[in-house]
């Protein structure tokens, strides 16, 4: 399964003219070509995750939010890496399903349709469960990655996260052909 998924990734890379396709590490992320099914989460689950991410890190005029740092496509990229264990995808899928169910039980509707206060109350309720706490923490961890890693990986566009927090990047910054999975 992983091998097949990997081959499809490679094919996508060839069609889009990406570089560096030799060897098992030649996994070149491309957000425009994210294959959601390779993560095992469906479109509704990704919509729920995007809504949770926006609640966890809302956009403000002077400070970027999850949406501004490509947090959702970042997580899709992470989970579509053939080197990522399937348990990691399952972890996010099961967490999304559990939160969707909690939302229906508490409010009778989908999480994405809730108002901000309802979302807050529901997520705090979910956080009180051991599985919910871990799931939300992992989501937050990956939002921080999307916000504060080098833009060459697709998050932190235009260094928006670095600029917000006055982070001065070190010398040298990684070029596209030296991203970690190509080393």
């Amino acid at each position: 399964m992983k091998r097949r998924r990997f081959l499809r990734w490679s094919m996508g890379g060839v069609l889009m003219g990406s570089a560096g396709l030799a060897g098992a590490r030649a996994w070149v992320p491309d957000f425009s070509a994210i294959r959601l099914e390779s993560t095992g989460l469906d479109a509704d689950q990704w919509a729920l995750i995007a809504a949770v991410q926006e609640h966890l890190l809302p956009s403000e005029a002077a400070a970027p939010g999850a949406r501004d740092v490509n947090a959702t496509s970042w997580l899709q990229w992470v989970l579509s890496d053939p080197a990522v264990e399937s348990s990691q995808c399952r972890f996010f899928r099961q967490g999304a399903a559990a939160l969707a169910e909690l939302s229906r039980k508490e409010y009778g509707k989908a999480f994405v349709s809730l108002g901000a206060r309802e979302k807050e109350a529901l997520l705090r309720k979910y956080e009180a469960r051991a599985d919910g706490h871990g799931w939300l923490q992992e989501l937050l961890n990956y939002i921080m990655e999307a916000m504060l890693t080098d833009p060459v990986y697709g998050g932190n566009p235009g260094q928006v996260g670095w600029k917000w927090l006055n982070h001065q990047p070190g010398y040298k910054r990684p070029p596209a052909d030296k991203r970690y999975f190509l080393l």
Binding site: E60, L123, Q137, Y171, L183
Partner: protein
């Protein structure tokens, strides 16, 4: 009898590279086997994903885990695999080894470190032993490292300063962050003697290497993009290769050292990149894989005469594993306490703080107890890795932070002041419950037993760690830092490894002789940090480099002296 090489070195880090360079310069043929890839300066970037979030420079723990044993509340030992845990005992897995990723805080040991047992007497529960050599034996080699590897700094006299044979460092100190002079002033007022921390980082270009690009605290965990950092790779191996007599073979993982029925080593067997087994032989074998891996290799290299593992007649291979004991602390210096211009200077993160205190290298404080060994306190920037710093703000008192409150916390932590850190180093006392063995059941992906690491510590580590960290905190408070905390921990720092093959005069109580030659074998040497019976209260790298140069000089002499003139 002819051999493939004069010397075969297993491991290309701080322990192996001085041997490779010295022997190649002296005209001998050297093969260096390194299990990892050969990345060059152009492959290293300040990339938090690569260094710190995806651990690209280390083996995959799913393929090669360690089993660690942690003490539980009842004095028993809990075992856990390092797969999917926060523990990672791997360090640099590439040519140059972990020296590529060190911060390069370089302190020498002091004369007292060579004879702790004689100086302070035995400590109950600790396997104290004097070194079989003295500071005077090692001093010329510390000096050689200053020029060969490149150490920058400025000698400042203080009560525990070690003697030196040269007046000052060959490279001037690196540019300093304004916190350095604040610490100097505060320290003098307290009656202490802060001094510039010397660094294995070039402050001016030399030997084809550029000088520092000033990334502040970024050095640790990341490779250097200008070759200013004195990794074994740029400072030594590249020179060794240039002699034409040193071959570095990456992707070569040594399976075992083979010995025959007479107890003679007949060769080294290794997996190449394709996973095929290959063999080479040499007149002299030098093992330098870092303390845990060196012990593993010797223990799995059994032979007809060595059923318990190579060089393990004493049963001490893997025993007396040392980490580094100590404490830590932190604080934040708020910009709002300073004028605009001063605040602007404080906010630049490129230059180094580079200050240390060794006033308590020996603690002579009746309120603390009898005169005893203390340690070193370093003052540094918090590592700038922004994702890891942000992730530390995600939880307060068991509750997750998110939404606008999280954003305000991040703004405060990243924008309102200089985050400062105290790193206190004391001896990790050698104890029976800190050791490496081969696991009886679990195999790595090569089919070799994984290491089982017991991580017991002596309570003295904690006592001294708390003492030193509190002195560091006193300094941070004195410069006006806020939120100052200090603490000590018994948790092993996995990047500071020594012990497991202690050297000594008596083959019954040591693995190596004073030249770091294995007691039962004529032509096997160990030159990483494994040789140390006690580790001192500083990071190990300078001492590993220096000792490896010392052993290398012995090897040249033993092989018949330099074959070349004018070198």
């Amino acid at each position: 009898m002819s051999h493939d090489y004069d010397v075969c070195v297993v491991g290309s880090g701080a322990g192996g590279s001085p041997v490779a360079l010295t022997l190649a310069r002296a005209g001998y043929s050297v093969l260096v086997l390194e299990r990892g890839p050969w990345w060059h300066t152009d492959d290293f970037y300040k990339d938090e994903l690569a260094c710190c979030l995806r651990d690209v420079y280390k083996p995959d723990r799913r393929d090669e885990p360690h089993i660690i044993e942690l003490e539980d509340d009842d004095g028993g030992w809990l075992s856990q695999s390092t797969v999917n845990s926060r523990w990672n005992f791997w360090n640099g897995n590439c040519v140059g080894g972990a020296s590529n990723f060190m911060s390069g805080f370089f302190h020498r040991l002091k004369p007292v470190d060579f004879h702790l047992l004689s100086e302070f007497g035995p400590i109950e529960g600790a396997n104290m032993a004097d070194w079989p050599i003295s500071y005077e034996d090692l001093e010329p080699y510390y000096t050689r490292v200053e020029t060969e590897v490149g150490v920058s700094g400025r000698v400042v006299s203080h009560p525990h300063a070690e003697p030196r044979s040269t007046p000052d460092f060959p490279y001037p100190p690196l540019q300093e962050h304004p916190v350095a002079s604040l610490l100097d002033k505060a320290g003098r007022k307290l009656g202490y003697h802060p001094f510039p921390t010397s660094r294995a980082i070039l402050s001016r270009p030399a030997d084809g290497r550029n000088s520092c690009a000033y990334n502040g605290g970024y050095c640790g965990s990341t490779g250097c993009s200008t070759a200013a950092k004195g990794s074994a790779r740029v400072a030594l191996l590249d020179k060794a290769v240039k002699t034409g007599r040193c071959e570095v073979r990456p992707h070569a993982l040594v399976k075992r050292i083979i010995s025959d029925a007479r107890g003679k080593i007949t060769g080294v067997e290794y997996f190449d990149q394709a996973g095929k087994l290959k063999q080479v032989d040499a007149r002299i074998y030098v093992v330098a894989c870092q303390a845990i891996e060196t012990a593993k290799l010797l223990l799995r290299s059994t032979g007809p005469k060595f059923p318990r593992g190579l060089a393990n007649g004493s049963g001490l291979v893997g025993k007396n594993l040392l980490f580094a004991g100590g404490g830590a602390g932190s604080g934040r210096l708020l910009y709002s306490k300073f004028g605009r211009e001063e605040a602007r200077k404080l906010a630049q993160t490129g230059f180094f703080i580079n200050r240390a205190l060794q006033d308590f290298y020996v603690i002579d404080d009746p309120s603390f107890g009898p005169r005893q060994k203390g340690g070193t306190i370093d003052f540094v920037h918090v590592h700038p890795s922004p994702v890891l710093r942000a992730q530390r703000q995600l939880e307060s008192n068991g509750r997750l932070n998110w939404g606008k409150p999280l954003k305000r916390i991040l703004e405060e932590q990243f924008r309102d002041g200089v985050p400062l850190k105290i790193e206190a180093f004391c001896d990790w006392l050698p104890v029976d419950d800190c050791f490496v063995t081969l696991d009886g059941a679990l195999k790595d992906k090569w089919g070799m037993p994984v290491a089982r690491v017991r991580t017991g510590y002596h309570v003295r580590n904690l006592q001294v760690g708390w003492y030193l960290a509190a002195k560091g905190a006193q300094m941070l408070k004195a410069i006006g830092a806020e939120e100052v905390i200090s603490f000590a921990s018994g948790a092993p720092p996995t990047n500071l490894l020594a012990g497991t093959c202690r050297f000594g005069h008596d083959p019954d109580t040591s693995v190596l002789d004073p030249h770091c030659r294995a007691n039962e074998l004529d032509n096997l040497y160990v030159t990483d940090g494994s040789f140390m019976p006690t580790g001192g209260s500083v990071p190990y790298t300078w001492t590993i480099y220096a000792n490896a140069f010392r052993v290398a000089d012995h090897l040249v002499e033993r092989l018949g002296g330099s074959r070349r003139e004018n070198i």
